[in-house]
Subunit: 590 residues, 2 copies
């Protein structure tokens, strides 16, 4: 059985950094050439980074991407390179849908999200993405026209190779089936597929189904890295035509995955659209068996996503250091631990800002954490500012500062302190709110939510606890000191903004709250549907109302890594002004 040597370049591009992305693509092409590879593939839109969003509306940007693609083509040799890029829909002989009725694509003709096939100095073919996702975090129909018509095929080392761009592989009856019908042996699937809980397993199932349906081998390459709210996990892999997993890259890290891929030559069935590139394999050495990295379990994957999302947001935006308000509570404890794993202890700084209501154990827990993590901790009591504002406000308020006003005031004074330290030192403030708080609005605008990156904003509180235990287990397994003081995990959660305050005074227990939030937010259920599913009616009414009323707060939150199937942000586009209440009729629970 013949085989070809393939390379999947699991890269971490930076959005907009065309020169750096290009340079790394060219380096990987050279490495694959030297390793005797017949084909190397790169992630979707690797030259721009994914998603470039409305940079695509700038003609000058697209011109520069096409320029970078031309440079990449000039660097190509005998190893065929498949590179994700964007090009105007009217170029490279692309077959695209009719756009005569389309408005709003800007001054240029519309664009295509493409896989460009490069060989011996030339662009030898350009394949346009056909299925353009426009749901969840995706807006691809905003910028791109879909490819239509016959699929291009390429003879590489004797194999008939076709290309599918990301979503194209997810439909059973779509482009993959068409490639198989046209005689394809090997489907190269280039992707920018963001991480969420469960996504990696779903991806493996989809790939297995496509192999079973088409009889084609699949080379799947995905990007890694953080881009604003998205984290890409990689998981690049090579499946044989029988569905055998020949190679798999480790998740959340850059990797050049190389392996030899056997194929049945089925060229008799091939249609006209075949471009002959190479008849036999370039490899001369012994066959390479790809490495097969094990997938991560859920908690390990989420933790890795949070670390990579944080490291990349800071690194790609030029922040060297982070500063975190350490309350001694579990949220700031987890955020500080993630920050240290992302940046190292020398680049993380904690600030303890006790108020008149802070408990002794909070201060000692914060100190214990800082010692375990090896980070600097400063303590700045907020009492002088608290006192000053209390006096200043009695005039315009005509009353003493008490209740929620006083609680929010304390939180905002801490925000002012942290932001002043950020302004002076250049360190970014990491905020510590979790998804349960984001959902219910249990946070103070410009207070605890003030900062540049919200590390755990998509992590429900119950998962915050799980991740702390997971991180301590990780340390024990490595024979290291547990970073997280057990007292922090064991004590009941409290904002400590008034005497003897507990979260459960204001919110349902998190074990009951989190499933309601998940059903309402991620499941898009209505309150009557959640009640019909067995949740406590009063609790459902209260929680869903809180979620609705907090939309205005969420709109002003800093970005943070998406790790669930539906994060707040571009993933969930709810109006702030929204008076929807379900009609009092029998709910649909289907």
């Amino acid at each position: 059985m013949p085989s070809l040597r393939v390379a999947a370049a699991q890269m971490n591009p930076t959005v907009g950094d065309l020169e750096a992305n290009l340079s790394r693509v060219v380096d990987a092409m050279a490495a694959a050439e030297a390793a005797g590879c017949d084909l190397i593939c790169f992630p979707e839109l690797v030259l721009t980074g994914y998603p470039p969003e409305d940079l695509l509306l700038k003609d000058g940007f697209v011109t520069d991407v096409v320029g970078a693609l031309t440079t990449a083509a000039e660097a190509s040799g005998d190893c065929v390179a498949i590179v994700g890029a964007v090009v105007p829909a009217t170029t490279f002989g692309l077959g695209v849908a009719d756009a005569s009725d389309a408005r709003g694509f800007g001054a240029t003709p519309p664009l295509c999200n493409v896989a460009a096939v490069l060989h011996r100095g030339e662009v030898v073919g350009v394949v346009a993405k056909r299925l353009l996702p426009n749901y969840a975090v995706f807006d691809e129909q905003r910028w791109f026209l879909p490819g239509v018509g016959p699929q291009l095929l390429f003879r590489v080392a004797g194999a008939v190779v076709g290309v599918a761009v990301c979503e194209d592989l997810w439909s059973a009856s779509g482009p993959a089936a068409q490639l198989a019908d046209e005689g394809c042996d090997v489907i190269v699937s280039i992707n920018a597929s963001p991480f969420s809980l469960g996504q990696d397993e779903e991806r493996r199932q989809v790939l297995a189904s496509r192999v079973a349906e088409t009889g084609c081998a699949i080379v799947y390459v995905n990007q890694v890295g953080g881009q604003d709210e998205l984290v890409f996990d990689g998981g690049s892999m090579v499946l044989s035509e029988t569905g055998q997993l020949l190679a798999r890259a480790p998740s959340f890290t850059e990797h050049l995955l190389i392996c030899d891929l056997p194929f049945h030559d089925t060229s008799d069935e091939v249609t006209d659209a075949l471009t002959e590139l190479s008849a036999t394999s370039r490899r001369t050495d012994a066959p390479i068996d790809g490495e097969v990295a094990a997938p991560l379990d859920d908690q390990a994957a989420v933790y890795a996503a949070l670390v990579m999302g944080t490291a990349d947001y800071l690194g790609k935006n030029g922040f060297r250091e982070a500063v975190i308000g350490l309350s001694g509570g579990i949220d700031s404890t987890l955020v500080a631990t993630i920050a240290v794993d992302a940046l190292g202890p020398d680049r993380v700084r904690g600030i303890s800002m006790p108020s008149r209501y802070s408990s002794d154990h909070s201060r000692s827990d914060a100190e214990d954490l800082a010692r375990r993590l090896g980070i600097r901790l400063d303590t700045v009591p907020i009492e002088p500012a608290h006192h000053a504002f209390t006096e200043m406000l009695t005039g315009p308020l005509g009353t003493d500062v008490v209740g929620l006003t006083d609680e929010n005031l304390q939180s905002r004074l801490r925000g002012v302190l942290l932001m002043a330290i950020s302004n002076e030192t250049g360190a970014i403030v990491l905020t510590t709110g979790n998804k349960s708080e984001m959902a219910t609005g249990y946070s103070t605008l410009y207070g605890d939510s003030a900062g540049g990156f919200a590390v755990i904003k998509d992590v429900p509180k119950t998962l915050v606890y799980d991740l702390c235990r997971f991180r301590n287990e990780m340390a024990r397994a490595a024979g290291e000191e547990e970073p997280i003081p057990v007292a922090v995990i064991d004590k009941p959660p409290s904002a400590e903004l008034r005497p003897d305050q507990l979260d459960e005074d204001s919110l349902p227990p998190y074990e009951l709250l989190d499933p309601i939030v998940a059903g309402y937010v991620e499941g898009d259920r209505t309150a009557p549907e959640l009640i019909a599913l067995g949740h406590d009616p009063a609790m459902v009414e209260r929680v869903t109302r809180l979620v609705d009323l907090s939309e205005y707060k969420r709109r002003q939150m800093p970005p943070g890594p998406r790790i669930t199937t539906k994060a707040f942000g571009r993933d969930r586009r709810m109006p702030i002004t929204n008076r929807y209440r379900p009609r009092p009729t029998e709910p649909s629970t289907s």
Copy 2:
């Protein structure tokens, strides 16, 4: 020549408030019935309000909308009602595009954005929108499938009536042309078309072109009102088949526009898809000549949009009162004036918060403004808090608080004060940053940008001056006192956060800055293109860099009304993490 009596219900629905929207639709139907109308039309998606966004992903919401539509149908009489709604694509015999490859529409089948035709207690036809805008602020391909196939036609008072939903009317070769080909006499165009500068004139030109091309009369109805960042201006109108403007509703106000519309009976040419509803007109009284309101000029329209956007954001979200930090500068002066026009003086409150650097004239200008507007003004010097924080910060900073850190600190102390007043009184804080500042990041996160609604965030500074002069002229024309002190307009802009500070120390003069921002943001030009257009190279490099670097700040800004062709927010989806720099080659200036 026969005629039919038509009514266009220029309504202000509230997103999600199905019962209230339904009730007002039914009331207008009754009014049209009583006035002898043959047909009444309502804006696009009038039952949900536009845009309902991801409420559409909740099956329960869609079920409730269909329920409201059924109730509306039951209320219909002899006057045909055309009502904007959303229904599942598999219902009402809709002809829709094949969706077998579509993912991400949620658990239900995908939806259609429809015009439902109601008559004598029944839904007699449902027309699905064909062109789904997915650019600028629009995301319609996220939720809807397009209608395809033959158009439905309806005989109303002898005329052959077809329906186009918003975007459907904007293509010369699209649905309107198809309606004309199929024998339509009168096109009913239902819209939710947001205001932006120049939009109303473009709309009138498009309608004139469609009449000229098709020979059909057009009944155009558009919603009014504010919805988060969008403001809808109305401008509903009736054009005869010769292009004569028979009636036009006043902008930015609800209106039931009624007029008699003559038509040529061309029923010989009609295709099979004609539903017979009524053969002759219901009207028995004298013909009604519709009123023809004059369109507003640009400044009047922008001012009206800001007032309506502010009034509706507050009203629809349950805020009775607004509080504004009055610096004596032109931005807070304009915002306070708009707020008083939106809410009345008793519901607006100013707070003057001088620091050690505030000038005497700033305080007196703020007092003069408050007197002219008739609003309450409290003065709270921030010195005690400023002093407290200066002391508290020397420890962790290891240095005195000076420079930008000190400037931001003062701004944030004012934010804390305003938010405490907001927490205690329930009044919403209106922020005062303009578009030039939003663009360049000339604002303090959690400081002057802290608040619930950013009234002039899409108004460039040069337009801020124009609007102040416009508002004073309005007052003079009405024989009233000018609300805006002339000293505020005449003095050079300053943030007054250090001694003798002027905006021009940090930014180019606004007359030079604003065109660069417009070219970069609204025009999507790159820096080399702007330089090639004749702007100062150093200034272009500096301004475009500032715009790029401030994306993270804009992401945390409160919403505010969109009045230009491209506002920050959902209209301009730029990545925060973005290292794009144009390649050093000859720019395309086409």
